[in-house]
Subunit: 145 residues, 2 copies
DNA sequence: TTTTATTCAGACAAAAATATCCGATTTTTT
DNA sequence: AAAAAATCGGATATTTTTGTCTGAATAAAA
């Protein structure tokens, strides 16, 4: 819809890791994919991408897994996660798929979609991991099913 | 992004047909796909779906093609086109892909995305074909490339 | 030092979305 | 009546997205 399946999994995984990291728990791929109900191997690829983008930290070896430093949570925004996985299309592409759509040569829905995209951008940029993780800790929101 | 490729083609095709219908011109599949720069046979499928949904009128035979009665243009909204092709997912599905996301059990981005979806819904429902077609007639917007 | 539990990387597979082809049907024109 | 130009519908093909498998690398535990 707004995000690819990969991105949905990526966001859910990141939030889950954040919640656990707040309690100093490092989590494994198996645990993550069970808790957020996502395909294990596919999720592995996404976590790798998030790690390469410095959004999560991966640790190899027997007690390894994934974690997020608490100090980073304020800085990591939803926007950064989306950009890492889906790229910037949501912010820039024409709603009707026109390559040359622009202010000078706008498509028929250009103005309206610009407003919508701006609203999405503001939302994603102003939502950080702390907010997302604490809303779950507080029982105000959920990640399951 | 917001819409599938099919839907983008469908919207562009509908607008093009509307513009031509305003000048009492019935247009063929070949002309449409050339003018909106879309794959011919694929576009044919989409036009069939739009015709079945009474958004456009298809006429068979040698002088056949597609048209939209002028009187319908005020009533046909962007929303109807999107619903006919992509369904209602844009209005209803959880931003994070959670099946059970709801007011009672919201995902961490539920509130924000509800606002965004409402904005999109309002935009699509308040934009009709007359508006889209006339913006092109007036040279205020474009469909090419 | 060996075993175990983990991530990593690349190849592979399945499903969904996008795109093409072709024969049948329809209707106008010749 | 035949030919021409169009849509329709179903089968097929291609591409992209989603998902799986397997062996190597890593690091802690036994």
């Amino acid at each position: 819809m707004f995000f690819s399946k990969s991105c949905e999994y990526g966001i859910r995984a990141t939030i889950y890791i954040a919640v656990q990291s707040l309690q100093d728990k490092r989590v494994s791929l198996v645990e993550i994919s069970e808790k957020i109900d996502s395909p294990k191997s596919f999720t592995a690829k996404i976590l790798q991408k998030l790690a390469r983008n410095k959004i999560i930290v991966s640790v190899k070896g027997q007690t390894g897994g994934y974690e997020i430093p608490k100090d980073d949570m304020e800085k990591i925004t939803l926007s950064q996660i989306v950009l890492a996985i889906d790229g910037s299309g949501l912010y820039s592409l024409c709603g009707l798929g026109l390559k040359k759509c622009s202010e000078k040569q706008p498509c028929p829905v250009h103005k309206d979609f610009k407003l919508i995209r701006e609203k999405i951008r503001k939302t994603l940029e102003s939502t950080n991991l702390s907010m997302l993780a604490s809303s779950i800790d507080d029982g105000l929101s959920y990640l399951k099913i």
